[in-house]
């Protein structure tokens, strides 16, 4: 493991640890308003200042990091499972099943990702509670983000179907679900792992985009997307640099994921 990958892994663990310790590091919580100090600059009480309605920005960054860092992997897991089910099974079954699955996949891939997200998000109720908005946002990412992974898995599974050891297993009388479960699925694992890890930074960025466009996690719950929405009110970059902390953190975390992933990419290829 190279130095940079070790450093990236350390950064990810540290970010996760800090976000999980949010209850102790910011006992006031993400929604508490300090009405005497609205839109305040950084101080000893509020390390990153407060937002325009007086909420502590440091607390919101910690809680927002927790939401993004815990739910993006959950969505990635969901999308990987759907990809394994659709792509893996389609490739294994072949013929009409593979063609049907790939037609649906092509249909999803024919739309730009962000456009697909906002379209499907708009079909669901927008005026929902913050908790439901979190679930809807990340469920949507999980349920829509499987398509490119399914293509890779379909191709891999299809090549496995015709491999010698699967033919031998079939000749030995192993068929159907057992053949898929015992002989095909374990060989899809490297691709599945790679797809899972690749999806996490992609989903973090997608949530941030949705949040800035006002279609992500609803207030008062913080997420990196809703925290970055604050940048809309800035007049110049140098005016309040502490407002860029969520962006800085997001870039560091996504870069760390990319660095840690550099080996997984090779596995996927």
């Amino acid at each position: 493991m190279s130095f940079w990958r070790k450093l990236a892994a350390f950064v990810l663990v540290a970010a996760l640890a800090f976000s999980l310790a949010a209850n102790w590091l910011a006992p006031g919580g993400y929604a508490k308003q300090y009405r005497e100090a609205t839109d305040a600059s950084p101080s000893r009480q509020h390390w990153l200042g407060t937002d325009e309605i007086g909420r502590d920005r440091f607390a919101r960054v910690l809680y927002g990091t927790r939401i993004s860092l815990l739910l993006a992997p959950a969505a990635a897991l969901l999308s990987t499972l759907v990809a394994a089910l659709v792509g893996g099974l389609a490739g294994y079954l072949g013929g009409m099943w593979a063609r049907a699955a790939m037609t649906v996949t092509d249909l999803f891939l024919s739309l730009p990702w962000l456009f697909l997200l906002i379209t499907i998000r708009a079909l669901m109720p927008l005026n929902v509670s913050p908790l439901v908005s979190v679930l809807v946002t990340f469920l949507l990412l999980g349920m829509l983000g499987w398509t490119s992974a399914a293509r890779v898995l379909c191709a891999t599974s299809s090549s496995l179907r015709n491999s010698d050891f699967v033919r031998q297993a079939r000749a030995s009388g192993i068929r159907g679900a057992r053949l898929f479960w015992i002989h095909v699925l374990p060989n899809l694992k490297p691709v599945l792992y790679a797809q899972f890890w690749i999806s996490i930074p992609a989903f973090i960025l997608s949530e941030a985009n949705l949040g800035i466009l006002g279609l992500g996690v609803a207030e008062p719950l913080p997420s990196w997307g809703s925290l970055l929405k604050e940048l809309e009110g800035l007049v110049s970059v140098g005016e309040e640099p502490w407002k860029f902390v969520p962006l800085f953190l997001l870039v560091i975390v996504v870069t760390s994921f990319q660095l840690v992933l550099s080996n997984s990419d090779e596995v996927a290829a």
Binding site: L114, A122, A208, I212, L213, L215, L250, Q258
Partner: protein, 288 residues
């Protein structure tokens, strides 16, 4: 051969748009709130009028009927009426499409100029530091959400086209750099270099024919990326294009408008990808 390929692509586009239309019509039909009609709240309406309104909506409950009717209207140039903006969808699209196409077109030219410029000079110079710089630049841009780049372009007073170009640059750069590096490593290119051919001749006679079909495929995909990038850029930079319209439709849950924009986006993306594919096969045929 080419005619058959074109026919196959044409059929695939037609089938995908039809299927996509049916799927979006189904989603629109079953979206929560589809049945709600605020006009029923009008105190001037009597119970018979309200019942008539309900009866007219009941016909839309049949999804196939709903889709066939929408399709028939679309063939006559009537794409329906926007619920949130109160204008015909055709008018809205006609007003906004030119701006989006201009933005996306200029951004693609800018992005590809930068991609090819950096990737080619990197391959010619063969300096690890220069190559590393390109990788760091594309890697950093890849880690910034598209919407943040759009916001920063507003803050720095940079045109929206540049923001879109910066969003698509890192996606294209990675593939292009690898494709060119692989093409330059081919034995016939090494032989040409050994014979003392100049770089321009090597590029156009020996590298481009090898890499062009794949580069065209990447270019086709980058059209889809640019259209996707146009949404946050137009929405946050206040540019009245189709991307901003899609965003407004999403926020206002203007489902008929959203359905039509979805079909338009699907059509443009498919045309770009098929065009790249056909052009790639023509080049392969010529080089074979």
């Amino acid at each position: 051969m080419l005619r058959r390929k074109l026919a196959r692509h044409g059929f695939a586009i037609f089938a995908t748009v039809l299927l996509g239309g049916f799927l979006s019509a189904t989603l629109v039909r079953f979206a929560p709130g589809f049945d709600v009609d605020e006009s029923e709240l009008d105190p001037h309406l009597n119970s018979a009028s309200i019942q008539a309104l309900r009866d007219s909506r009941t016909r839309q409950n049949d999804i196939v009927h709903f889709y066939v009717q929408s399709l028939r209207r679309a063939l006559n140039g009537d794409l329906g009426r926007s619920l949130s903006l109160g204008q015909p969808v055709t008018t809205l699209l006609r007003e906004r499409i030119p701006l989006t196409f201009r933005l996306v077109g200029v951004a693609l030219v800018l992005s590809w100029a930068a991609v090819l410029g950096i990737a080619l000079t990197g391959t010619w110079l063969r300096l690890p530091a220069y190559d590393g710089l390109g990788t760091v630049l594309s890697g950093t841009l890849l880690c910034i959400p598209a919407a943040v780049l759009a916001l920063l372009s507003v803050l720095w007073n940079v045109p929206g086209t540049l923001a879109i170009a910066l969003i698509i640059f890192p996606r294209d750069y990675r593939y292009t750099r690898n494709l060119l590096a692989r093409a330059y490593a081919q034995p016939h290119v090494l032989a040409a270099r050994a014979k003392g051919l100049n770089e321009v001749r090597i590029l156009f006679w020996h590298v481009v024919p090898v890499a062009a079909p794949q580069l065209l495929a990447v270019a086709g995909v980058s059209v889809s990326l640019a259209i996707g990038a146009a949404i946050p850029v137009e929405a946050l930079c206040g540019l009245a294009g189709v991307g901003q319209l899609a965003w407004q439709a999403a926020l206002g849950r203007d489902l008929p408008l959203l359905m039509n924009i979805t079909l338009l986006m699907t059509l443009v993306t498919l045309l770009a990808n098929s065009g790249a594919d056909v052009a790639g096969s023509m080049l392969r045929g010529e080089s074979a």
